[in-house]
């Protein structure tokens, strides 16, 4: 990790993204755009936890596929299910 992107800034970004999610909860979240933003934020937070907290950067492709694959499938299915309504 470089000087700007390190475990401390990862924590800070995760907190800020959580606060953004919280603030967005006060907007009427029926819209497609807001739904996309919220799920993208959740996905980005998930990537940071897998990569930087779990330390999966540099591990074999199989484990990356399993972890990022789980995150992608869950976020996509939720997104599609909500946009279908």
């Amino acid at each position: 990790m470089n000087k700007l992107y390190n475990i401390h800034t990862v924590w800070l970004m995760l907190v800020l993204l959580t606060l953004i999610t919280y603030c967005l909860s006060f907007i009427d979240t029926n819209g497609t755009a807001i739904m996309l933003v919220l799920m993208t934020v959740a996905f980005v937070k998930g990537v940071m936890i897998i990569r930087d907290y779990m330390g999966l950067k540099g591990v074999s492709l199989l484990w990356k596929i399993i972890m990022y694959g789980w995150l992608t499938v869950v976020c996509l299915v939720i997104l599609v299910a909500y946009l279908l309504v």
């Binding site: 936890i49 907290y53 484990w63 299910a81």
Partner: protein, 188 residues
């Protein structure tokens, strides 16, 4: 360029457990989203009765607890076992606060006459959050054992395996909540 991928942190058996747990939680999340399709109004109205402030605070607590676990591993790698145990205790404190806040939230719902049989939303709400709640308790127990052994000096700089194993489980609990917070508390 490194030709060989680095080994997965911690014990392989724990990662198989993590994968199994993620599959179960994933099915729960997908079930929630699909069941909602035919119960949109019920889900939206019921969701508004949840406390978003405690949901956000609990997210920050879990993120911070995970951060302290990472810091504990970094400290142990420098052979600073006392400092490492202090980080783990800080992580346990954050996780315990999560449990306390969630317990109050459950108590509030029960005292308002809301339980698992109230409606479909609350059935899924209690199933998902209680399932996660017990995982947090298990994670705290694992962290406590590792923290105690670290504090007693059982681990040296080259013995991070147990802490990485415990940490991986804890991060899984965090990862699941990262999806659960927007799903249950925010998006509608």
């Amino acid at each position: 360029m490194n030709k060989h991928p680095k080994p997965i942190p911690g014990d392989l058996a724990m990662w198989i457990i993590i994968f199994a747990e993620l599959l179960v939680f994933g099915i729960f999340f997908i079930a929630y989203a699909i069941v909602r399709i035919n119960n949109v109004e019920l889900f939206n109205d019921s969701q508004l009765t949840l406390n978003r402030e405690t949901g956000a605070l609990n997210t920050i607590l879990l993120i911070t607890a995970s951060y302290f676990v990472v810091m504990a591993i970094h400290a142990l790698k420098k052979n600073l076992s006392k400092k490492s145990s202090h980080y783990l205790y800080a992580s346990i404190a954050c996780g315990s606060l999560f449990i306390l806040i969630k317990s109050i939230e459950f108590q509030d719902k029960f005292s308002a006459g809301i339980d698992i049989g109230t409606n479909t939303f609350y059935m899924l709400y209690f199933l998902l959050t209680l399932f996660h709640y017990f995982h947090v308790i298990l994670g705290l127990m694992i962290l406590f054992v590792v923290a105690l052994k670290t504090w007693k000096g059982h681990y040296k700089a080259d013995q991070t395996h147990a802490m990485e194993t415990a940490g991986s489980y804890w991060h899984m609990v965090d990862l699941v909540w990262i999806i659960m917070f927007p799903l249950i508390y925010v998006i509608r």
